[in-house]
């Protein structure tokens, strides 16, 4: 898609500025009219490439970061603001002495999509996420959130909600106080803290000490802390780690719902099956480098498909299919794994030569297969295979 940078006419600019002035009014009905007006203008604007900062300037009318946005109910603001939210990493590099943990990593996590971070242990996923929120300083390169550095934002918790290490809590503090401590830095009310606890399913244990929590409950608390500021971007490091199936489902639905609201969600996981269902795009890291940056569909296509054939004469079938360009592998006494040929062709060949087919199942390669395929050479810590 060719990026289209919308050029604003002077009339559009003055209308936009007018709506923004109405936004600052105190009447809810006037504010709602202003939001409707701005939304209508936004819909008319063709947005081809979310990276087009022209859209940002369209919403802000070139006045810089709009402080008054933050005075409005976050639900409405996030619906408008979130279109411009994204994480852009450019040639990120992090070196500790001689060891390079992140090597020239560039990617864009787009709004409205769930971007997955995959990689073996030690590939640099956590380090990259820490560099997004300024906990680590990159040796070279930069990473920006919505076009600005994380620390330059007016309200960092409202820009990016981050879950990095759920266990990093004082064990003698109650869950509610832990969230209140974070919320107070931004003036977020206690009502919001209780709301977020309810969403995370922790309202029953809100006044218990965090040290008594299980791993899954601490993970939920970390997610609750990430959601506290109603952020436009979410950076989640292994959010389903330690959660029961209900919790895993909750996180999946949450990420999808947040992405559908227009936010940018960046999450890393080792659970391939979950990643395949949750993520739209996947960035695969290996030894600090980006190995792949593609949609889930592209990666699973790359993993390839094959047909599992169970018959009474597998050797004969293999010999018959070879001239047709099929690659076959024998995986059991009566089972063949055949690729590069359609199941219909296999059935016809079997019928014409009298081979009985017991089973002919097309199997689509999974994200896990693609992942192992891509990272075979880049695994840093590999357990030795049992003899």
């Amino acid at each position: 898609m060719t990026p289209v940078t919308p050029e604003l006419t002077r009339h559009q600019r003055s209308r936009c500025a007018g709506w923004l002035r109405v936004l600052a009014s105190t009447t809810p009905s006037a504010r709602n009219r202003a939001f409707d007006g701005l939304n209508a203008m936004a819909r008319d604007c063709p947005l081809a490439d979310p990276a087009a900062s022209a859209y940002c300037s369209f919403l802000r009318c070139g006045t810089g970061v709009p402080q008054h946005w933050y005075r409005k109910p976050m639900s409405v603001v996030s619906a408008l603001r979130s279109v411009s939210f994204m994480i852009t990493a450019t040639h990120l590099t992090k070196r500790h002495g001689t060891k390079t943990s992140v090597d020239d990593v560039s990617f864009i996590a787009r709004p409205g999509t769930v971007t997955g971070f995959l990689g073996p242990n030690g590939a640099g996923k956590s380090t990259t996420m820490r560099m997004i929120v300024g906990l680590d300083q990159p040796t070279s390169g930069s990473v920006t959130v919505d076009g600005h550095r994380y620390e330059d934002g007016l309200a960092p918790l409202r820009d990016v909600g981050v879950l990095l290490d759920a266990g990093a809590v004082h064990p003698r503090r109650t869950a509610r106080n832990h969230l209140r401590v974070i919320a107070r830095t931004h003036g977020i009310s206690d009502r919001r803290v209780d709301e977020v606890l309810r969403v995370a399913g922790l309202d029953a244990v809100a006044r218990k000490r965090v040290g008594q929590f299980s791993l899954g409950m601490k993970q939920r608390l970390g997610l609750a802390a990430a959601l506290l500021g109603d952020p436009g971007t979410l950076v989640l490091d292994e959010p389903v780690n330690g959660l029961d199936p209900e919790g895993v489902l909750w996180v999946r639905q949450l990420c999808r719902r947040l992405a559908d609201e227009g936010r940018a969600v960046l999450l890393s996981s080792h659970l391939m099956s979950e990643m395949a269902v949750t993520a739209d795009r996947v960035i695969v890291l290996g030894r600090g480098r980006v190995i792949a940056d593609a949609s889930v569909a592209d990666l699973t296509t790359r993993a390839g498909a094959y047909v599992r054939v169970r018959s009474d004469a597998p050797d004969r079938l293999e010999a018959l299919l070879a001239p047709l360009g099929a690659r076959s592998t024998r995986i059991a006494a009566d089972t063949l794994q055949v690729s590069d040929v359609a199941p219909e062709t296999i059935a016809e060949v079997a019928r014409s030569s009298g081979v009985l087919l017991f089973e002919s199942t097309p199997v689509q390669g999974t994200l896990e297969d693609a992942f192992f395929d891509l990272t075979a050479d880049d695994v840093e810590y590999r357990a030795s295979r049992a003899a």
Binding site: A168, H186, Q253, A332
Partner: protein
């Protein structure tokens, strides 16, 4: 490629409608803050640090212990004063002030412990990552920590002084010595102790930020307070250099001199410089480390 297994490696599809209802995610329904700045202002950061200190039981335990011990110390000192009733009655205010003066020494252990624990626990539990994510500029957090430590210690010190005065009043009244709490000499003593303890609290915060470990920071602080004066005196016995006035523990005397007005003008720059150096140098180092350290 996977070997022949049942097709459980196919991507998982779920029908959401059959799952039990999950609490619906709603974006925030509460109104946004009315203040002009949407993000972390210094006042908000101080409020957050104050909640951090008061929401942890160890702070309360240290405070209660210090108040109890100060009350006991006041009572026992008053008891020893009351063994000489005539001498005690000659200057009632001075007698009471004498029972309250050592409270600075009693409290310094607890104050340093509180300051170091509050900061070092944050580093050891990893809570500091959440804090630095919320306030990425980081320096306001350091300033807020120092402010909150100073205020908390001031409150605890005043309460312990009141407790000690009450206990010593009870004991001294048996020999007919009565001094009110708002007597200028008593107030001077209480003020000097409180000021000294506040200095120690700020010193503890700076030290703990540099040395993230609680045990190491406590060792360093106690070394500076207790061991360093003795070591300096021992090492320099042969020379005529007197380093005792440059020690942090001497700040106790400096504060009481300043408040009672008996500070010699010629010594004022040296004393203020001592305090500024002991508090300021760790703090500057802590500020530099905070800004640039990878957490």
């Amino acid at each position: 490629m996977t070997t022949g297994t049942l097709p459980t490696n196919a991507p998982l599809t779920t029908t959401v409608e059959t799952m039990p209802p999950v609490p619906a995610w709603t974006a925030s329904s509460s109104p946004a803050p009315r203040k002009a700045t949407p993000g972390p202002s210094f006042r908000r950061v101080v409020g957050s640090e104050w909640l951090k200190v008061t929401s942890v039981p160890s702070s309360w335990i240290i405070a209660t212990t210090m108040i109890a011990l100060s009350t006991a110390a006041g009572a026992s000192l008053a008891y020893s004063e009351s063994s000489d009733p005539a001498g005690a009655a000659t200057d009632m205010a001075a007698t009471t002030a004498r029972t309250l003066a050592p409270l600075g020494l009693v409290g310094q252990l607890f104050v340093v412990l509180l300051a170091v624990l509050v900061v070092a626990n944050e580093f050891s539990t990893g809570q500091v990552r959440a804090t630095y994510t919320a306030v990425p500029k980081r320096l306001p957090i350091l300033a807020a920590r120092a402010a909150v430590a100073a205020v908390a210690v001031a409150v605890i010190s005043v309460v312990s002084s009141i407790g000690a005065w009450a206990a010593s009043s009870v004991v001294l009244s048996t020999v007919g010595v009565h001094t009110s709490l708002v007597d200028p000499q008593v107030l001077e003593t209480v003020g000097a102790n409180t000021a000294y303890l506040m200095l120690l609290a700020v010193f503890g915060v700076g030290l703990a930020t540099i040395v993230k470990n609680a045990a190491a920071a406590l060792s360093a602080a106690f070394g500076v307070l207790f061991v360093l004066p003795i070591a300096a005196a021992l090492v320099l016995t042969t020379t005529s250099i007197d380093m005792s006035t440059l020690m942090l523990s001497y700040a106790d005397t400096i504060m009481s001199n300043l408040l009672s007005g008996s500070e010699a003008w010629g010594e004022l720059p040296r004393d203020l410089g001592t305090i500024a150096a002991w508090i300021g140098v760790p703090f500057l180092i802590a500020a530099g480390i905070t800004r640039h350290r990878d957490v």
